[in-house]
């Protein structure tokens, strides 16, 4: 039993625990006192628009950016005291790739592994394994410069796994990638999760958060606006379905009073009118009966995007 407990972290077992965590750059507060707990084995997300403070938070957890205030423990240790020790056990995928473009794909993995104190034979074997995992084996001896964006991202993720991290931090892992590349990455991340790696992911895509996260926080302007599983958040802040009525520009506001009582809540967007209703089809039929004639009417399941809109009054991706 003692053996199994050796690496179990202190406190209540959270791998990351933040209380009132602050980050300021001069006068400006990027992270305004957030509370977060990430449990072993879970996949935790920060969902928020650009500038919400996601990267600032991730960099503090990664022990590369000192906190400006509050408490933070990562793997049971204080980053201010044990930064290098914690980093030895983390995997970090930064928002911006910082691969060594003068080295080959394989050399990037091997050189990086050495910084974690791994032996030459070990990094050699590990690199081969990770190339396979990242589907880059046939590009192993190519220069990094010749890789596509998706391949670079996979290489960055592979590099972050070189030390078999206990916690993997991914800052917008799929931003800027085409759908196919995103799905391949999601598949890889899902496998890691299945293998028991704890993941922390930031994203401004709600589908990514829904795909990857067991629990997430919605972050906006340096604050946490809500916490829960994707389903919980949708249940708490939304109805089951959303009816989207598209109008010629400017006419949606006039239609809103006629249909407002058909939904629990309405939202007037520049090009659309959203009706949050439990039965979207019924609401659509009722709107037709009242003589409302939109260009189109679409019923869809509600998503985290709607949660975000509800919480902040703004859409997530502009």
């Amino acid at each position: 039993m003692a053996v199994a407990r050796v690496r179990l972290v202190g406190g209540d077992g959270a791998l990351v625990s933040a209380k009132g965590l602050l980050k300021s750059f001069g006068e400006f507060q990027a992270v305004k006192g957030i509370d977060v707990e990430v449990q072993p084995g879970e996949s935790f997300g920060f969902l928020g628009p650009n500038g919400a403070g996601k990267s600032s938070t991730m960099r503090m957890i990664a022990c590369v950016s000192p906190r400006s205030g509050g408490e933070l423990s990562v793997l049971g240790l204080d980053p201010n005291i044990d930064g290098p020790k914690i980093r030895a056990r983390l995997g970090v995928v930064p928002q911006e790739d910082n691969l060594d473009v003068e080295l080959t794909v394989r050399q990037n993995l091997q050189v990086y592994g050495r910084y974690f104190g791994l032996g030459r034979a070990h990094v050699k074997a590990k690199a081969a394994e990770l190339l396979e995992f990242a589907q880059l084996t046939d590009r192993a001896d190519a220069e990094v410069d010749s890789l596509s964006g998706g391949m670079k991202r996979r290489l960055t993720i592979a590099r972050a796994l070189v030390n078999d991290p206990e916690l993997l931090l991914l800052d917008e892992p799929t931003t800027g990638l085409d759908p196919q590349a995103r799905h391949l990455l999601w598949d890889r991340l899902f496998r890691l999760k299945q293998a028991g790696v704890t993941l922390i992911v930031t994203t401004h895509y709600m589908d990514e958060a829904e795909q990857l996260c067991d629990r997430l926080v919605v972050m906006d302007s340096g604050r946490i606006a809500a916490l829960g599983s994707p389903a919980e958040l949708i249940a708490r802040y939304c109805t089951r379905e959303v009816l989207e009525l598209r109008f010629p520009p400017g006419e949606q506001a006039a239609a809103e009073p006629k249909v407002a009582d058909l939904a629990e809540r309405t939202e007037v967007l520049p090009d659309r009118l959203l009706l949050y209703a439990h039965d979207g089809e019924a609401a659509l039929a009722a709107a037709h009966n009242r003589g409302v004639r939109p260009l189109s009417g679409l019923v869809r399941r509600s998503s985290l995007e709607d949660v975000f809109l509800r919480l902040t009054g703004r859409t997530l991706v502009d």
């Binding site: 930064g83 030895a88 983390l90 078999d164």
Partner: protein
Amino acid sequence: MSTDTVRPPLAVRPSTGRVVGPLAAAWLVVEAKWTWYRKGWRATIGSSILMPLLFLIALGYGFGTQVKSGAATEGMRYVAYLAPALLASAAVQNAASESTFPILAGFKWQKIYWGIGATPMSPARIAAGELLWISMRVLISGTVYLVIAMLLGAMSGLGVVLALLFATLCGMSLAAPLVAFSATIEREGQQFNNIFRFLVLPMTLFAGTFFPVASLPVYLRPIAWLTPLWHGTELTRAAVFGRMHLWPVLGHTAYLLALFGLGAWLAARQFQRRLAV
């Protein structure tokens, strides 16, 4: 849930990563540099010894025929007077080019320092690794120059080994503060042109390599005395000519060590400031 609940042996499989000691850490930076550098090392060494060799041949052997041996040449043939000084001068030039654009690239263009910063390596250790790498490059280029100069008959004796170490120290006493400076640069590095134009070039011309500082106007001499190259040149000549006098040697060495120490401290601090924001 109480805190003493026995948790299942979670997926908390221990990571294989560990923190390496300071010396090993600096060495890992060298190892990474070498991984890239080994592809083109011959060409790089070639280009870093080209300048001193051209000077040695054109000025030492060519122009030197016009120079009478005398007090100004410490009683030597001009080429023998020049050869050890060019060792120090080459060290300074190679150190300067290695501590400018490559450092800027790590921060700005490739951002690899941010990648390394996410490992157990600390910013200060990355800076130390860069300095170690530069010192090795300076030392190796110096060795190649030395061997060729000796084959040409411009230098001889065991003192050259000591001269090589002095030259490397001289190069590093410029490299360390320059690395610190380069780590502050946010833009494209136009400032480096000024460093080469107004610091390195005048230094190579006026700090005693080609003629004694004593031939400069009185008011310019103190400026020459401030340059690391003058101290390095005094040391390399003393070592090769076998005229090591205790106090001057100690004085010059102390000056260079102090510059290096200050520069290394500033470099470590600046790497920390830049990376840990």
